[in-house]
Symmetry: C2
Subunit: 368 residues, 2 copies
């Protein structure tokens, strides 16, 4: 079923995608601004379900790559957002007929909306992760053998490149250093796929889910019910911890925002480890959740998503988890995005699927 | 006048270009190996004078970019040498009709020969510097407003990129980090120009000069005359210093071989500062020669060129200087390649043109 995104939908989508962006994916306010501007200038965007996507569609992503720290300081221009898509069409020799989000995130769910509006093409209701991950190759299409190449990229200054790499990990390596040199944030377009392959390789309906999550937060507040519990319910997740941010260490290194945050409640302290996105949540030696499952931080009262960039000392937050797309738990996927890839000597903690909305882990778990 | 390069010419050209490469431009042995292989497989290469170049020729360079340290360890394949030229032709939409050397150097004068043989196109008798310099934008064509873009590049593994930048300095910045990530050495092709512009922007007859210098060294040895003096004579240069290498510091940082060498004779010590190429020659506070003029190190007896990579403790060497192409002394050029660009708080030392073959500076200069 197709639906339409207009200016009024952007806040919900940006909010919901920042939740599912698991701390990364960029600032929802910045991404929202750009999408609204594009929709005002160019009109609404049609979103079509994966089921309706024609087999011969030419689908490609458009996204921002870099450290979210920088994205917050630098609103990209609409021109720079569509530039890599046009470059890709030219290089590939066929126009891109449909755009997709490569991940879910405050910026990377809204930039494709802006690009779709400006280019007058529909957007598909899905994305390549069902969450956000920090590196280029970390997308479900990689598991289906889809190449990110040709990968077109552009910066604000007018520098443009096209890269063809032997695999997506090499794409990540080369594009990352280029992005750092180009100002730590670039726009890119690649992963072109037929409609047929797109239907298999993406996470279905994730743009609808973002809108739904975003709307739920606002609705819960209007209904004076707990917004965080509502999000947990919508995602089939679980609340892990509630407390106050007592420490944040964050550094932009090698083009990523890496760091850790400590959230305290009474004598217990939850440690969050992140690289753009939250990767591990643990209390002492007890691991509560790990990548590839979703670890999300929400404002205690309002339920608004808190990105890793926005974490500040003194914030009252609640940490929730939800299961990743099942395909992320395959052995090949765990090798790509499991805790060990990120340097943590941990097995992935498989989210148990139990829906326990609103129950803090301190009450729900015994022995702690 | 056109002439032909065959296998038997390669040693002379490689030797001569390593002299004019002022310490950089790669190892002549490695470059020579590749050129000989290509000539054996594909036949001789025609070299045409700039005067004969048709106005509508499509000329482009092919060269290796990276740290010479790595070039010495990794002989590129012929496929990887022609790959960026083919990529450029495709991206530009017109086949490259003539190849040029972007600089003079042991590798970067011989790789274009290999590529010209393999692609069956002529080579022009000239280059973009009349010497070697370490960075992409440091070519006379930049002074003529020639863009390095589109710039095609490739590594041994099969990763290929095309870059279009707003100026050649941005080309250097982005291509350098990509090159480092891709193994510290890549092949590239760009700077495409019409024949008309090529005639203006290149240093004329430099490939002939390389062959001439190389032949002179061998001939001098056969005639039992001093080979170094012969080179000085051919280049209209001057011998600066003769002595023993007593210290070499060298590090591959940011993709360059940077360092210094000390050469001692009696109580005087010449200090050579380099970044891939020799940039400054000084004895204490007395500056004998600086970039953009040519500073070259030759083996004391044989007159063979010694690259910055090949400098070793205990070698007996002679340091000579020769004037750079006049255009390198324009204010815009000095800003690009003068001592201050490389971080030395020195005015460029203009080579005085005096030909004093075989006279060490210790004897020729007073007050030291």
């Amino acid at each position: 079923m197709s639906w339409t995104i207009s200016v009024d939908d952007i806040d919900d989508i940006a909010r919901g995608s920042a939740v599912l962006g698991t701390g990364g994916g960029g600032d929802p306010y910045i991404g929202g601004l750009l999408a609204k501007q594009a929709l005002r200038e160019h009109g609404d965007v049609t979103v079509i379900s994966l089921d309706e996507l024609p087999d011969d569609a030419v689908v490609a992503n458009v996204s921002m790559l870099g450290a979210p720290t920088v994205m917050v300081e630098k609103l990209p221009s609409l021109d720079s957002v569509i530039c890599p898509v046009q470059e890709l069409s030219e290089h590939y020799g066929k126009p891109v007929t449909h755009l997709m989000c490569i991940e879910v995130g405050g910026v990377n769910s809204t930039i494709p909306i802006a690009a779709a509006a400006a280019l007058g093409v529909p957007l598909v209701d899905g994305d390549g992760m069902g969450r956000a991950f920090p590196e280029l190759q970390m997308v479900l299409p990689t598991l289906y053998g889809v190449s990110a190449s040709p990968l077109a990229y552009a910066d604000e200054k007018g520098n443009i490149g096209v890269l063809r790499t032997i695999n997506n990990l090499w794409g990540e390596r080369i594009i990352r250093v280029a992005a750092i040199e180009m100002g730590c944030s670039i726009m890119l377009s690649g992963f072109h796929m037929t409609g047929e392959l797109t239907r298999k390789a993406l996470v279905k309906d994730s743009l609808s889910l973002c809108a739904n999550v975003g709307r739920s937060i606002v609705a819960a507040r209007a209904e004076k019910v707990d917004a965080v519990s509502r999000v947990v319910e919508v995602l089939g997740g679980r609340e892990l911890f509630a407390g106050k941010v007592v420490d944040v260490e964050r550094a932009t290194t090698s083009g990523f925002a890496r760091g850790r945050a400590a959230i305290a409640e009474g004598e217990r302290t939850l440690e969050l480890l992140f690289q753009n996105e939250h990767l591990i949540a643990r209390v002492g030696d007890e691991v509560l959740a790990t990548t590839p499952d979703l670890i999300m931080v929400l404002d205690h009262e309002s339920g608004e998503p808190v990105t890793t960039e926005a974490l500040r000392y003194g914030q009252r937050v609640r940490v929730i988890a939800a299961p990743a797309d099942e395909r992320w738990h395959s052995p090949a996927a765990i090798e790509m995005v499991g805790p060990r890839y990120f340097g943590y000597d941990l097995d992935p903690h498989r989210f148990d699927g139990t829906v326990r909305p609103g129950v803090p882990v301190a009450d729900a778990d015994t022995g702690s």
